[in-house]
């Protein structure tokens, strides 16, 4: 009888712990009630057709919420030297895209995700890349080079949609990660 009670108690404790910790949020970042899918959870969306067309022509159209406005301003003022490429636009288009990016940048965003990005930045620091933002670095700190830079189908940590299958809907949920030549992310 005593042994049965102990076994039952143990399974209760184990079962409860599993339920508590098995939601892949072991760092306790997701709050209670944050159960909505994708962009409705993160608040990250790309809404400008010009930005999508012009900038999405060569790479993933990053949500403007992920960088402070000064980063976007600097970038749009130096499109001839855009990370090794020439991405020059007509002056009219450039102004349109710049207006969209700076007005939807991190400090103007309603997304809690963007708030985390902003909060992690040291005062006065203007990141050139999303992947330089301390919060981003922290979130990706456990991913080995082998899976990113040395992975021919990923190549760079800047190509979000190579692994994040819900990048374009702004989800970035851990459960939706599918790393080429590797699979889901399990830690």
């Amino acid at each position: 009888m005593k042994q049965t009670v102990i076994v039952l108690l143990m399974s209760l404790i184990v079962g409860y712990s599993v339920a508590l910790f098995a939601d892949n949020d072991e760092h306790g970042e997701r709050k209670q009630g944050d159960r909505k899918e994708g962009a409705t959870k993160t608040g990250l969306t790309v809404t400008d057709a010009t930005y999508l067309k012009e900038c999405g022509a060569c790479h993933f159209a990053y949500q403007p919420d992920l960088l402070p406005s000064q980063s976007w301003i600097n970038m749009m003022n130096g499109l001839d030297k855009h990370f090794g490429e020439n991405a020059e636009l007509s002056e009219e288009t450039r102004k349109t895209v710049l207006a969209y990016l700076s007005s939807h940048a991190a400090e103007h965003s309603t997304s809690w995700y963007a708030a985390k990005f902003m909060k992690s930045l040291k005062s006065g620091v203007v990141p050139a890349r999303i992947s330089e933002v301390p919060y981003f670095v922290k979130e990706h700190r456990e991913v080995p080079k082998k899976l990113i830079a040395e992975n021919p189908e990923v190549k760079s940590i800047s190509f979000c949609n190579a692994c994040h299958t819900d990048a374009d809907t702004g989800g970035y949920r851990e459960g939706k990660i599918n790393i080429p030549n590797h699979g889901a992310w399990r830690d």
Binding site: C58, H59, D80, G84, E85, N86, A87, E88, S90, K155
Partner: protein, 130 residues
């Protein structure tokens, strides 16, 4: 008499119906370009240039590949580029803005400078035939 009037009235329509390609060829001619050649354009398109900053060799084919009827790939990001040949992609060479935009930035990236009116005309003549 009626025919003459109709022809006179319809003539301006024919003039204003110039395609974006016609507009560009005309612009290049005004800038001093001579007769355009698809052969010269092809050679230029395939030509490799050394980038001063990185030392890497670049050509239009670096992204568009040697077969313009096939999809290309952005050299850095790997993003798929729809075929450049009008025979495979009828949208090509139909937008003045698009042609000006891509010729400007891609010449600068590939050749290290803007292409001359002659070079652009030759390349467009070549692409037109693909």
């Amino acid at each position: 008499m009626r025919k003459i009037i109709t022809a006179t009235l319809l003539f301006p329509i024919a003039v204003y119906a110039a395609t974006p390609l016609d507009t560009l060829f005309e612009e290049y001619r005004k800038a001093g370009a001579k007769e355009f050649s698809a052969e010269t354009g092809k050679t230029f398109f395939y030509q490799e240039h050394k980038d001063e900053a990185t030392g890497e060799m670049r050509a239009c084919t670096s992204c568009h590949t040697k077969d313009l009827t096939k999809e290309g790939k952005q050299a850095s990001t790997g993003k798929v580029i729809k075929p450049l040949a009008p025979s495979a992609n009828p949208e090509r060479l139909t937008s003045l803005e698009e042609m000006n935009k891509w010729l400007k930035r891609n010449c600068k990236w590939t050749v290290g400078r803007e292409c001359t009116a002659q070079e652009k005309g030759d390349v467009l003549m070549f692409l037109k035939s693909q």
